[in-house]
Symmetry: C2
Subunit: 160 residues, 2 copies
């Protein structure tokens, strides 16, 4: 394994580790537990889970892995705050969406070489990327890895 390969594999591994922690946490919750707030008057667990799915779904076009699968999640979990949409998917449905989106991402990541990760992500222009080569696909992966950890830290506070 070259340093380049080792480094890229480590970044994908860190993503997977954080996803596995989140999966273990959220997949084990009952419908009732999903309605728990992480702290008084803060987001409910169901919102955090749906939010993570919507954000991960949005990584596909950013990383050149195809169109989004579930833009219908945005109103309840991304553009709107928690409790502004009454009709939410069940825990079983969220688990299905979570697995679908994350498996598709992981399949895409498995095909990326180091050079692919170092390419610009789709929202930055060629010109801006030339000025700042750190606006690459790996930066998206690292940012979304921290994003999972950020909300998982909150979610754990609601744990018994």
């Amino acid at each position: 394994m070259t340093p380049e390969q080792s480094i890229v594999a480590s970044a994908v591994h860190a993503w997977k580790l954080n996803l596995e922690r989140a999966d273990k946490f959220f997949s084990g919750l009952s419908e009732q537990q999903l309605l728990t707030e992480v702290a008084p008057a803060k987001n409910r667990l169901i919102y955090l889970w749906g939010h993570l799915i919507a954000v991960h779904d949005g990584m596909m076009p950013l990383l050149g892995l195809g169109e989004r699968l579930h833009a219908e999640l945005d109103a309840a979990f991304l553009t709107g705050a928690d409790k502004t949409v009454a009709d939410l998917p069940s825990g079983a449905e969220l688990k299905r969406l979570w697995d679908e989106v994350n498996e598709r991402l992981l399949t895409g990541f498995g095909r990326f070489t180091a050079a692919d990760w170092a390419q610009r992500h789709s929202v930055v222009s060629d010109q801006d990327f030339a000025a700042n080569p750190l606006r690459n696909r790996l930066a998206i992966l690292l940012s979304r890895t921290a994003h999972v950890a950020y909300h998982l830290g909150q979610a754990q506070l609601a744990h018994k």
Copy 2:
């Protein structure tokens, strides 16, 4: 910039971004605010800040960047739970330690090449590293980046 350089620089940049967010949050708190719990009966903000400093201090030997500077923090912030040690450093003192530890780490990171990041970290043996080359220094950086984000997510819940 080669793909290898771009990828390593992106990982260090993600660390810096998360540290800057944490610095902005914790450095702005009064002594009184530092005593706020992130949720009822959960850790106080002062504990999370001290905990991050102790964990970052522990990265130095792990990454071959020298001995720890502040092992005296462990009793209050790492091995013990919050509220088990009465006499804690002030916010001003924590800010000084936070800056000292993180600046020293960043200086060390600035000297690491991709090959340095791909080397084993100090706790894994040569044999175990041969079996799993992802137990490298970069894995420590990525893990600790997620760790900052995890606790920052909790800390933000105490924000007004």
